[in-house]
Symmetry: C2
Subunit: 252 residues, 2 copies
């Protein structure tokens, strides 16, 4: 019963739409890859990627179910993997290329899940580069596969890794706001890809930890542990059966 839509926002929306500007020759395509393997790209996305001069894969906010090599074989083109460092500090080269040539920046899931990618679109537009978006499935909509009605989700939270000295638990306040208003909460679990240990970071050593994620059972326990000392919240009741754990292969 729904197609056209309207957004009521709290803040004035950015007037810089990420699409529609003309530039001389080049173009930056932000291409969502979906959530599974190399074949979850759209036909439009694949055709676009195959004609691009440069293909860059954002590889630190999320991880696809297949490695870069398999993407390269499927696209029949080389793909440059960009870790956090590359995206944050070395994307000037990519944007410069996009002033003259067609360039694809590939994002696991959909394009604007992470603010990093919105920033990149804004930067490109400020440089006069044409920006085009090819959307795809995101966990923000595919989570409906668990059977909960997508309309009834409230704000999304992230659950970070806890360390000995840093236990950020502010996410629980958002869960409580949602629950009080009768909404579900989608909680995204932190991953660490090419992260330095605190010691290596302090010493400026580029030694990286192996990739890891907040394991699902640990996340459930963490929420309960976080709630325990805050007794006034306990009346809301979060029995274990009220949480659903999803992981990447949810669409298979």
């Amino acid at each position: 019963m729904v197609t056209v839509l309207l957004l009521l926002s709290l803040a004035t929306a950015s007037s810089s739409s990420v699409a529609g500007m003309a530039s001389a020759g080049g173009c930056l395509y932000l291409v969502g890859l979906g959530l599974g393997d190399e074949k979850d790209i759209t036909v439009k996305g694949l055709e676009t990627v195959r004609r691009c001069k440069g293909i860059f894969l954002e590889g630190y906010t999320s991880i696809l179910g297949v490695d870069v090599k398999r993407l390269e074989e499927f696209y029949e083109r080389p793909v440059t993997l960009m870790d956090r460092e590359a995206v944050e500090s070395e994307c000037d080269g990519m944007l410069e290329l996009a002033t003259k040539e067609e360039v694809a920046f590939l994002v696991v899931g959909d394009v604007y899940g992470a603010t990093t990618h919105t920033d990149m679109a804004v930067r490109a537009k400020e440089l006069g580069i044409k920006v085009r978006v090819i959307h795809n499935a995101s966990i923000m909509n595919a989570c409906s596969a668990c059977g909960l009605q997508l309309y009834n989700f409230g704000q999304t939270v992230s659950i970070c890794f806890f360390t000995e000295t840093w236990k950020p638990d502010s996410f629980i306040d958002k869960v409580v706001v949602n629950k009080k208003a009768g909404m579900h909460t989608l909680a995204l679990l932190d991953i660490k890809v090419k992260e330095q240990s605190e010691e290596n970071m302090a010493r400026g050593r580029k030694i990286y930890e192996p990739p890891r994620s907040v394991l699902k059972p640990r996340a459930s326990h963490k929420i309960i542990d976080t709630l325990k000392p805050r007794h006034h919240l306990q009346s809301l009741q979060f029995p274990g059966r009220e949480s659903v754990n999803l992981s990447l292969p949810l669409w298979t």
Copy 2:
């Protein structure tokens, strides 16, 4: 920073996951088509559709930017358009076929945006039919193209057509809940496809009105009009510039 995830739900989630059950030979594929044209289907979706014995397009909760003919040409297969009547009353034939053959049910956007499709998956599973989902972009995630952060959206509302005798304004309460909690609201606007007039419905005449949608400017005005008599809500302030109108071609 996010991949694996966890859902905290208000209700106990349905234990019947829509994927993973084995059946004898057949399969029902629920395939998201994305939001634009025939090329917004995923490569996996296209490969699946092309080998299916039956292809059905759900055509009343949303409308694609291209007509069925163009889909048929692209898939190189016939496509049966299912209007509301067919989905609600005539899908038994489709499900029966899916007990023996591979069958695709195509949905504009992503698969589980509308409860109708969840119901269909549940029905299929109850009949012992294997169900597979191929996700795609939905307006529920692609709306991030407007520049607003997807994490900060609250519950979604629908704005229906107002008639002389029926002006459902309960959506505004949800908008207020979201706004008070600092969240954006995605408001989906009603469309009418193959709908009967009240008179024709009462007389049992299968005469259908031409397709139409709640036009965007009218929706903005409707919200303001709805707020007017509820003076205690006016302190929340919804100036016109706090709404963003999106329409189907947002991804181009």
